[in-house]
Amino acid sequence: MSLEELQKIAAAAKVKAESYEHHVHVCMAASCQSCGAADIKTQLTETVKENGAEADIWVKGVGCMGLCSAGPLVRVESPADESEYLYQKVGTEDVSELYASIDGNPVERMRCQTEIPFFARQQKIVLENSGRIDPEQIDDYIAEGGYTSLVRALTGMSPQEVLREVSDSGLRGRGGGGYPAGLKWATVARSPAPVKYVICNADEGDPGAFMDRAVLESDPHRILEGMALAAYAVGAEYGYIYIRAEYPLAVERLKKAIRQATRHGFLGRQICETPFSFEIEIRLGAGAFVCGEETALISSIEGQRGQPSPRPPYPADEGLWDCPTLINNVETLANVPAIVREGGEWFQSIGTEKSTGTKVFALAGRIAHTGLIEVPMGITLREIIEEIGGGIPEGRKFKAVQTGGPSGGCLPEENLDMPVEYDTLRAAGSIMGSGGMIVMDETSSMVDVARYFMDFCMTESCGKCVPCRAGTFQMHGLLTKIARGEATAADLQLLEELCDVVRDTSLCGLGQTAPNPVVSTLRYFRHEYEEKLKTDSTDLEIVAS
C-alpha cells in the first residue's frame, strides 16, 4: 500500500460521509451496550429504512464517547447546519421521537449539554477517534488519517528516526511505572539479537479502571498501528496483544481489526513493499491481576504459570523466550501514531516538562460526572474533580481522591491544587498509575478504603514470595480488626511494621506497592485509625516492656 492508495481510500470514505445529510452515532462500547445500545441502533436503522431515508441518514455504531454514566449515548450531527446534539439515557421507546427530531427541533428532554467542562476541558490524542469512528471499519480509521504514520515511516523514515521522535516526545509508560518509552525502545533496538518481540499489555486489572478497554473497543486499529511502528523502530517481526478474557468485545474487535489490517497489507509480510514484516497474535489472560506484571505476563504467554520472576534480566534484554522484548501498555502505544504523525516536539509541548502529553482517567466514585476523560498532564486535581467531574453531588464535602488503584494512594483536600504529574503524585504518596481515579466524600471511611485495596492485593497475590503472600493476609486481618474497633495501639504499630517489610522485601510491584493505600491514608488520615483503636492498658504494657 502506498501513500496515494491510502489517500484514495480516505477520500472515498469522505465522499461517502458527505453524501449523507445527517449522521447518527450510537455508542457501541461495552458500557452503553450493557444498557441496550445495540437494540437502539437496530431500531434506528430500521426506522430509517422504513421511511426510505437510507440515503440521507447514516446510522453508525461508534466507540466510547466518555460520559459512560449517562449511557446509552446517541449523537446526531448535521453537517449542513453544523448542528450537533448529544442525547443521553436513550431507550428503545425514544427511538421514534429521536428519528422525528433529526429533521426538526432537538429532543430537549434527553439532551446532554456538550458545552459543560466535562467535554470542553478535555484534550484528546489517545481518544481522538473514540466515539467518532466505527471501530469495525478500517476505512473509517483511514479517513481520519489512520495508518498514514505507518506508511510514511516505512517509506520515508529509518527505524532510528521513528525512535528519535518517540524519545523526543518524552512519552512515558502509561501502564503505571512511567518509564520513558524512548529509553525502553532504544534498549531493545540496540540488541543485535535476530528475534525480538513487541507485546501490548492489555491486561488492565486495576479495579475500576477501563481506559485501555475503551481504546481497544473504540479505536483498535490505533493499537495495531502503534505496535507496527514500535516493531519497525526496534526491529521486531512478531507481536502479541495480551488481553484479559473479560473483555470479549475488545477481543472481537481486535480480531476483526487484525484481519482487516492484514488484508490491506498493514500487517503481514513485506508491508508496503518494504522488507519490513510484522504479525500480531492475540493471547487471552485468565483474569489474574498479577499477569499484568511484565515478567508474569511473559511467563503466561510462554504457557507457564503467571508468576513474576526477578528483574534483571529485564524483558528488554531477555523477555519472551529469552529474546529482547518491548512491552508497552495500550495507552502508551496509542500515543505513538500521533507522535509519528505530528512529531515528538509537538507532543513534548503538551503537558509539563517531565510528564508530557495527555492522560486518560477513568473518573469514578462520589462525583457528578463519571466516565472516561483525557486531559493534558499538569492539570490540577481540583480542575479534574470540580470542573470536569462537576464536583461532589448532594452538597457533600470532598474528602479524598484515590489514584493508581491498589498500588496508589489517597490524597486529601490540601493536595488538590497539585498538578497531575508522575513525580508530584509520587512525592505526595500516591502514583499516576494506569488511570483509575476514585473520588470520596465525607461519608467514606479511610480505613475501609485501605482495607478494600488490601483485600484486593491479598486475593491477587500470586503467592510466590512470603512477605506479599503472608504479609498482605496479616495486614488485611489487622485492618479488619481496626475497622471493627477491636484493635489496639500495638496492632497499629505492627501494621506499620508490616508495611515496611512488605514494601521493601516483596519480589514484584504488586507486593512492593500493596502497602501504599495504607501508608497514604495513615499519612493524611491517621486520626481515623486512632479513633477506632480501643485503649487497653494491658496491651500497651506488653509493647512497653
Binding site: 489474574a288 514470595c465 503472608a470
Partner: protein, 247 residues
C-alpha cells in the same frame, strides 16, 4: 519454571570484579551471585528456598541485602555481583525484616515443632534460632490442611509446607518427572502432585524421593518416622548437577 540461560551471544570471557561485603574486600567472577560469592568467603546470608544445584527461585526473601546506592533491598540469590558493589548483609533493619518474614511463615501454617518428625532437623526451625525469632507477634492463621499418606513410601503434610518450591524444582529439573507443581493464589497456594490427584495415584512420580530429601521442613517425609527422626540429605544435588554437566 522460567529459566534464564545465558544469551547465545554472551561474551565468552568472564571478567573479575572487586567488591566489598560487610567491609571485607573480595574479588569475584562477574557472573556469580552475591549469595555464592558471600558463601565462598564464609559470610553467611540466611536462605530458605535457595538450594545449590537447583534453579534460583527468589521467593523466600530471607537473603535480602543492602547495596550502597540502591534505594531497594536486593535478593542475594538472584543479584549478580558488579564492580565496586558495597554490600551489607546484616544491618539491624535486615535482621528485623528476616525475623518478621519468619514470623509470617510460622503464622501461615501449623508448625507444631514438638510433634514434627523433622524436629531438630528443620531449616525453618534453624533459621528461627539463627535469626533470634523467639515469638510470633502476628496472629496464627489456623487454616486446616490435609495430610496425604496415599504414597507407599512418603507422606506430604501441608501444615508444614513453606511453599519454597524445592520439591517442584528438583522433580522437574533433576528427576525430570515434573510431578509437583503449585495451584491457587496467595495464601491459598498449595503444592500438588499431578493435577491435584493423591500422591499415591500419581502417574508421573517415580518414587525416587528427591523431593523428600530437599524439603526444608517436615512437609515431605518418609513414612514410618517418629517425631524428630526424619533427617534429610540435600547435599547430593550439587554433585548430581555437576556430574551431568560434565557428561
Amino acid at each position: 519454571m522460567p529459566r534464564y540461560p545465558a544469551p547465545p551471544n554472551a561474551p565468552a570471557k568472564v571478567r573479575v570484579v572487586t567488591l566489598r561485603i560487610d567491609g571485607q574486600d573480595i574479588g569475584a567472577r562477574e557472573d556469580e551471585s552475591v549469595l555464592d560469592v558471600a558463601a565462598e568467603h564464609d559470610i553467611r546470608i540466611p536462605t530458605l528456598c535457595y538450594l545449590d544445584g537447583l534453579s534460583t527461585w527468589g521467593g523466600c526473601r530471607m537473603c535480602m541485602v543492602e547495596i550502597a546506592g540502591s534505594p531497594k533491598l536486593l535478593p542475594a540469590c538472584s543479584t549478580q555481583v558488579a564492580e565496586g558493589m558495597e554490600i551489607t548483609t546484616n544491618s539491624d533493619k535486615l535482621k528485623n525484616y528476616r525475623r518478621m518474614i519468619l514470623e509470617l511463615l510460622f503464622a501461615e501454617r501449623n508448625h507444631v515443632c514438638s510433634v514434627c518428625v523433622s524436629n531438630g532437623h528443620c531449616d525453618l526451625q534453624d533459621l528461627a534460632v539463627e535469626c533470634g525469632m523467639d515469638f510470633v507477634r502476628v496472629p496464627y492463621r489456623n487454616a486446616p490442611y490435609e495430610i496425604d499418606s496415599s504414597h507407599d513410601l512418603f507422606r506430604v503434610d501441608h501444615n508444614r509446607c513453606v511453599l519454597c518450591t524445592r520439591c517442584v524444582r528438583v522433580c522437574d529439573e533433576i528427576e525430570g518427572a515434573h510431578t509437583w507443581d503449585i495451584m491457587g493464589r496467595g495464601v491459598e497456594c498449595q503444592v500438588i502432585t499431578d493435577l491435584n490427584t493423591p500422591w499415591g495415584e500419581s502417574d508421573s512420580c517415580t518414587g525416587c524421593g528427591k523431593c523428600v530429601q530437599v524439603c526444608p521442613t517436615g512437609a515431605l517425609v518418609k513414612k514410618g518416622t517418629a517425631a524428630g527422626e526424619m533427617e534429610k540429605r540435600d547435599d547430593f544435588l550439587p554433585y548430581l548437577t555437576q556430574m551431568r554437566g560434565n557428561r
